[in-house]
Symmetry: D2
Subunit: 302 residues, 4 copies
Amino acid sequence: MKYYRLIAPDGSSRLTVESQDGVLADLTSIDEDLTELDDLALAASLSGATIDSLAEGILNNGNADTYNLSEIVEGSKDASGDFQLDMPFEPPEVWAAGVTYKTSEMERRRESDTPDVYSKVYSADRPEVFFKATPERCVGPFEAVGIRDDSEWNVPEPELAFVLYKGAIIGYTIGNDMSSRSIEGENPLYLPQAKVFNRCCAIGPCFVTAESIGNPHNLAVSCSITRDGEEIFSGETSTAEMARTCEELADWIQRHNYAPNMMTVLTGTAIVPPPEITLQEGDVVNITLEGIGELENDVIVV
Amino acid sequence: MKYYRLIAPDGSSRLTVESQDGVLADLTSIDEDLTELDDLALAASLSGATIDSLAEGILNNGNADTYNLSEIVEGSKDASGDFQLDMPFEPPEVWAAGVTYKTSEMERRRESDTPDVYSKVYSADRPEVFFKATPERCVGPFEAVGIRDDSEWNVPEPELAFVLYKGAIIGYTIGNDMSSRSIEGENPLYLPQAKVFNRCCAIGPCFVTAESIGNPHNLAVSCSITRDGEEIFSGETSTAEMARTCEELADWIQRHNYAPNMMTVLTGTAIVPPPEITLQEGDVVNITLEGIGELENDVIVV
Amino acid sequence: MKYYRLIAPDGSSRLTVESQDGVLADLTSIDEDLTELDDLALAASLSGATIDSLAEGILNNGNADTYNLSEIVEGSKDASGDFQLDMPFEPPEVWAAGVTYKTSEMERRRESDTPDVYSKVYSADRPEVFFKATPERCVGPFEAVGIRDDSEWNVPEPELAFVLYKGAIIGYTIGNDMSSRSIEGENPLYLPQAKVFNRCCAIGPCFVTAESIGNPHNLAVSCSITRDGEEIFSGETSTAEMARTCEELADWIQRHNYAPNMMTVLTGTAIVPPPEITLQEGDVVNITLEGIGELENDVIVV
Amino acid sequence: MKYYRLIAPDGSSRLTVESQDGVLADLTSIDEDLTELDDLALAASLSGATIDSLAEGILNNGNADTYNLSEIVEGSKDASGDFQLDMPFEPPEVWAAGVTYKTSEMERRRESDTPDVYSKVYSADRPEVFFKATPERCVGPFEAVGIRDDSEWNVPEPELAFVLYKGAIIGYTIGNDMSSRSIEGENPLYLPQAKVFNRCCAIGPCFVTAESIGNPHNLAVSCSITRDGEEIFSGETSTAEMARTCEELADWIQRHNYAPNMMTVLTGTAIVPPPEITLQEGDVVNITLEGIGELENDVIVV
């Protein structure tokens, strides 16, 4: 099932689950202390039950308030609604992987002063993984993502993201790994500056449990950039094109490295805008991921 | 003045200041709520007074308990003392810079498969800065630093570290930027894995205010590695050899990037053990920095 | 000076100070980390400066956003404004005193089954002080105060409140010590139930420093209750009628008892509605205290 | 089952359960994030399983470290042990009830200037309940409880305590409701001062689930006071002598009143030392409650 976190009119958090198509059932309306996905994950971990079966049990025990998902989405888009979409959960750390799709290796190689490093990592045993963001640098659905003012080439990276709890993948969301290609292209040692900055990461719109996703390696991904109402770029791929599995990335990231509960890992991208496309303030980025939904963010200079 | 944080026998924190040579005056014994340097930094920021003048005012207002610094250090070394040295403060984020000394560029170039990237960053306008550690990955004086079990060449990097508060440098400490040379050398895209892991950063033994340090760019730095009671490596340099200033690094790190109060930045190193030296479990690393003190940590495999 | 805390349109907190008559200067607009009065109180405590001189220094250092106080008040009353008045600070504990005015003793005696206990406490050395509320049970300006559904006689108690920091009185606010007279009157052992319940305490609208108030024992206090737009009760007194001083109450409350910073103490009342007046849902209570301002709350059944 | 919280040598918390007689199984050694009973209570609440079945499931999934309970108790008594008993959980609020046993009414009446109030509450529908303590005023096993220096007659009150979670009783512990009889006896309006002060409440040694206790109204309770190695008082009763049930008290306390999860309620006492017995610094109070265990605390003047 899909879990959405909402901000209620009084500023409080609501944890909801899409119990039927297009209908959000408000778990917080049944149990006022249940406002965070983390609590369901904890209960699942301690009880051995799945997150989805816990949510179903709670829904069966009470009479949940329900909302129309489309209305919530529309009302969040222009901030006109009573309830606003929030990040589905707050990741204590976000990590990301690069060069995990054949295409991404090609593209990064083409534009870089040091193409060999990308080829090498693509075929190496060890993946490229990096610290991507803290909670303060993340945004949720319909919040603005950032582009650095000192970068000439800025792109979104639309990615499947997985969520770890006690070391295991418990679910998925969409991540936008905002990147400065010009800074990274200048020198691979600048990678952290090309990747970590204000509003560098978007997460959402929902969290989908691993049991609901099933196989994460056959999901369609698409991305478009809209400027002044006109689409200036679109691309698509499938997670079937990934050269590494989520499990493999989860394993590498946790080698000798602390992974707090709800740590989120973006798994790399194969959708790469051509060099003539760079994001500008006011652009809108839409990412669609099969089985999860659509993540939309506008762009501001930070 | 120099500020040390101690753990009292009951597990509580004590903020102390070296009011006379070798004597720690316990500020917490005068004001029981004053256990963190952050509070002095906040009060200094809001009042326009310096941290040192605030500490002096507090000492003049009360009758502080005092401790012998040497005894505290000795008792922390073998954990025999009632009071134990702790990290002087908890940095919410640690960042680090690389290739800031001429020597470091040389060394990293020599051992890397992609030497050019180091040369380029040395002479470029933009420095190499990276996200180094979260609080969970930091250790204090006499705590064990970590080496990755999947790395063959592991070295300490003894560095001057500065501390930011509301964007300005308010003081200094010593940082040990534990690094896996073999992982970084294989591919510069592996830098985050070579730098971010469990126990990858040591901080301490004290915090020295900017007003006490004066010029941070003329301080002697030395480092030694001891194995089975025998010194197997020693090196020394001076912060006068830095090719970039602390102010310059502080400026670059904060471009388009959030810098929480007490964020700590390690400024790079020029002391590089030769290829035949790699840290092993049980080794002891000592770093001395003029005007600050000595930071000692043993080594474990993580 | 008077300090008001506002909730901004994005839900964040703003600490403002009435720098000129009717004009709020936004301290948070100068220093984004400064959102809580507690921080000014800490800085004042550590630096020896007064809260007001710190605020003045900050205002002199920057160019604060300003707001019209009347507009903020009007916009908070009907929730139409962008900025809403909040509790001026969050008290970790609220305590209260009773029978501190000659009149209050008379009134409580008249209606109680055990009148002697009030007479005795009035003339005793030891005052009546009690634990009144936790933060979860407090409300701010224009929020609803509560009346118990199991109580027939419910009254507001309009009171001068003082705020302790490191044991000393640093300022004042208005407190409404909502009380169930019928429960208390039945048996003095029921006092905690007559005093501690949901929404039992209102605090606000601002915090005034002790240095601005000067003598707290000569301030006019008035209270009115309005029902369906019509005033059904009004009363007035002066803190000059108090039989005990704030200092005396502060001293008694801290005897052998922990007093956390920002602990707030309501000092008792002399304005007592007659037995035929009991609050109903929808009533509005207004309390005016000279030198502080006006605290308005409507009433709901809890 | 019985749950004990321990403080490990490194200062961290351990949640243990007495899985077999006299053997503590360390749940934290299986799941390092599981250090608090609250997490089990949350998981039980969300999954519909019992706390005990969750603990059993966790024990079956891993190989828990085990400790000898007697050794832990002995090592906590004189602080010689590596592991020390802590409060079994941290109650966000402690409330208490009075005059719930026939005897207690008699005793309090005898010594009070206003005996009628106790008789009345005993036979009234509404019980006497009061706010007893915040976490800062609570102590755990073998920690010192406090007596007020301004009180001549100080007694322990050995009581069965129940724990609320989402409004329901999930388990029990022992509570010592330290009381100043002289202050309360002078005037019932002084009850809060007679009850709320530093170290006024002891909780422990363990938490026993409601399912393990079964009927809480037929448990033997005993209490002794030892001075200089000699027992100066002992008394005993049974919870069968309670005139009100735990459910009834839980219901009254939550009427119109917020009850945070893990809120703890002491249920009153029938063991009352005679007037010639008053606690002195250095005395030791032992309370035994059938099905729970023994809570021991020494006495200091606060």
